[in-house]
Subunit: 124 residues, 2 copies
DNA sequence: ATAGGTGCAAACAGTTTGCATGTAT
DNA sequence: ATACATGCAAACTGTTTGCACCTAT
């Protein structure tokens, strides 16, 4: 991640300007508005590099392709609206969950996703 | 799911006898001990049918391929070993997490995955 | 000038499907 | 006997890699 290129600027801009986690395909679509010839391979290489350098984090939701968002947010989890499909950020965390694991296991991190309906979706 | 064949018996047995969720590849490996010529396509077709009829449930972990376990177990979560990649069942649950969601949201269910090392893997 | 970055296409891995053959009923 | 099930291979999707060309430094 040594040089600043048009494609990297476009990919960074897409992630910065979107207020939700984006999939590689969404990043490609967005960044192509700035750099028409942009290839999917460059998107993957760039987001992998950005993740590696720590400026972007992967948001991995069960059953869905990984999405990416800018790093620097505090520890948080996500809420997946089962009606409209949007993903929202949550602020709290239940804290240490290592008491859940049997002896011999060693818990290092956890992932929590809540499912339900968001304020915009009246469903139940 | 009308006929009882050797391959289906072997696939059911693998899922029944394993005390953890299995990936399609793991099911294939297991079931081939009974039915050597078993193909991966049959595994996929069978687990999809079993999920459809409700006797097996998919365990979808963030960023990972879906695993499968027998249905009918009580509410539980999973532990994913970051070293060997195997998935284990946990028996506890932090309980109601609806306090995590902001006003206007309605939480219906949650998914929790712990990551770390299992007893068989050196504590990476 | 030159090392690093890009685009294309091929390579891969996981999953699904088409089709001829096999088999439970 | 006959419809359903299986195995193989090809098709597909999402992600990674090899390589010649391009470009920020």
């Amino acid at each position: 991640m040594e040089r600043s290129t048009r494609q990297r600027q476009a990919i960074r801009a897409a992630l910065r300007e979107a207020n939700r986690p984006l999939s590689p395909g969404e990043i490609l679509e967005y960044a192509r508005q700035q750099v028409p010839g942009l290839g999917i391979a460059t998107v993957y290489r760039t987001i992998n590099a950005l993740v590696e350098e720590g400026s972007v984090v992967a948001v991995e939701l069960p059953g869905e392709a990984a999405r990416y968002e800018m790093a620097g947010k505090s520890h948080h989890h996500h809420f997946h609206c089962t009606s409209c499909g949007k993903v929202f950020e949550l602020m709290g965390c239940p804290g240490d969950l290592s008491w859940l694991v049997p002896p011999g296991f060693h818990a290092e991190k956890h992932e929590i996703v809540l499912y339900g309906s968001c304020p915009n979706c009246p469903g139940a």
